[in-house]
Amino acid sequence: MASSTEPTETSGGHSGRLASRLRRERVSSYWFAGAGYFAIALFGLIVLTLVYQSLPLLSEFSIVQMLTSSQWDPAQQEFGFLPAIVGTIYVTILSMAMGTPIAILAAIYIAEFAEGRTKTLVSSFIDVLAAIPSVIFGLVALIVVVPFVGDYLAPAVGSSATGLGIFTVSLVMAIVVTPFMISLSVESLESLPDELRESSLGVGATQWETIRSVLLRAAGPGIFSAVLLGFGRVFGATIVPAMLIGGQTQIPDSLFATGQTLPTLIVNDFGELMSLPLTQSALIFVGLTLVIVVWLFNFSAMYVRKRLKRRWQY
């Protein structure tokens, strides 16, 4: 049967079709290659643009001086980024400190404890929570968290505060990123082979011992990535801090103090002051700083992850 069909017949009769298939193949491969390089090109373009636009500022002030000065007063042409940098660091660390343990615990609950309907229900709840736009969290926080912090929490720890500030932003951002970290952590816990659990339980470990010594390590690189992505979102968070941080360009002196983050600097001043060349340049430089930090962070994280993966392979 196969040998009765002459190959030349077949290909000859359809050479037109073959030619057009091959043409489509060629054209599509150019397109795909273009798309492949797009990611790099986009990144390059963003960095170049931001650098170029930052030049007016950088030609007038020294970077070191700006990064270490706490005077921020565009009207007086004073561009000290330190308060916003410190604010960003505070918010990031505080949010992650609040969100990460909860996220990992909840992920463990979903992956290791919950069963059946409860499990489906809880994980869909988390999915929904992860998809709620952060501006809504900000809005709800304005009527729930702000009064709570201002009227109860801050006075309780002997701080007079307005409810706005570092702590409030951190709390709300922790709520924003937690579901996100949970989903990803659950994924990496669930992708672990059951043999790991059986091996550990099979020598008489309790579930907690199994989780602590085996599962959290084995899923470690995945959980690390989840936390990292959460970190990225907190670090670059814009709307929630803009609504809740209290916009004070000063180095915060307590948890409940108001402050400023790098993104809120942009939101608060860009629309009003972008027609002033130097201020515009300064705010674009803030964007550049954000990108560079994210970049450095990603690189070190990649390295750490590789190490973890090797150390905790199974």
Partner: protein
């Protein structure tokens, strides 16, 4: 058969997930002390389920129901106030897939010891780790890299590491589920040799799909079919002189017990009642 370390009494296990699967249907068995019992039977007949229910390891899955009982040295494993981890310490388990814990080679073996606090000093721990690594014939191969991750060993080495890890907590019974089937033939052989060395000292229950392996290693054979015990006998009698018709077929067919006619994969499985 009076010196049975482990016995089951009309043990039945049913999966109650999407569809109801009666994986093990009222099995009563005795596993003699310091002997190696091999459970054989076609794929899906309930071997793994039976094995895991012996130390309650099936309970980590959702939707499983169990009835009947298992007794270890005369004490029930199910009707007891002992915490489950204590039971599992006494009845160890080694899974099919060679599975290093995400720890160093040393810590893999020390894992159970640390959990149960079963060592006097660091030196004592070192001693024990060495002892069990020697017992599984692994010590020479790893003594100079005890701090390397367990996963960096070859699969055959890992499987022996798993045996050492299980032995280190000094279980009374060791359950092994097809511990060589994920290995290449050469590695399988070394693991098999290790099991042969161990069987005089331990009560071992092993699942295997290889008739040859059962023949080479086992003292006792349990032939399971569709969740029921078709025949159980000492190894020699079992292979030389099988009693049941099924057994004859199965032994002759080199492990492939072909039921009915259809090729749908379900037909090879135990009775299945779709639920919805």
């Amino acid at each position: 058969m009076t010196d049975a370390a482990l016995t089951t009494d009309t043990l039945a296990v049913t999966y109650t997930g999407n569809r109801r699967v009666e994986a093990v249907k009222g099995v009563s068995l005795e596993f003699p002390r310091n002997q190696l019992t091999a459970i054989i039977g076609p794929s899906g007949c309930g071997k793994s389920t039976l094995l895991k229910s012996l130390n309650r390891l099936h309970e980590i899955q959702p939707n499983v129901e169990i009835s009947g009982d298992v007794t270890l040295n005369g004490r029930s494993v199910y009707d007891t106030d002992d915490p489950i981890p204590e039971i599992r310490k006494r009845i160890g388990y080694v899974p099919q897939e060679p599975t290093p814990l995400p720890l160093s080679i040393y810590e893999n073996v020390a894992y159970g010891l640390r959990i149960h606090g079963e060592f006097e000093s660091d030196a004592d721990l070192d001693d024990r780790v060495e002892r069990y690594l020697r017992k599984v014939n692994l010590w020479e191969e790893v003594e100079d890299r005890l701090d390397a991750p367990g996963a960096e060993l070859s699969r055959g080495q890992i499987q022996r590491l798993c045996l050492a890890r299980s032995l280190a907590v000094e279980p009374e019974v060791l359950l092994c589920d097809e511990v060589t089937s994920a290995l290449d033939p050469v590695s399988a052989e070394t693991v098999e040799e290790t099991l042969a060395d161990l069987k005089s000292e331990y009560t071992i229950v092993m699942v295997t799909h290889s008739m040859d392996q059962a023949r080479r290693l086992a003292d006792e054979i349990v032939f399971l079919y569709l969740g029921e015990v078709v025949e159980t006998n000492d190894a020699t009698s079992f292979f030389e002189n099988p009693q049941a018709e099924r057994t004859k077929e199965f032994v002759a067919g080199h492990g492939v017990a072909v039921p009915d006619d259809s090729d749908d994969e379900q037909s090879e499985k135990p009775s299945v009642t779709p639920e919805q």
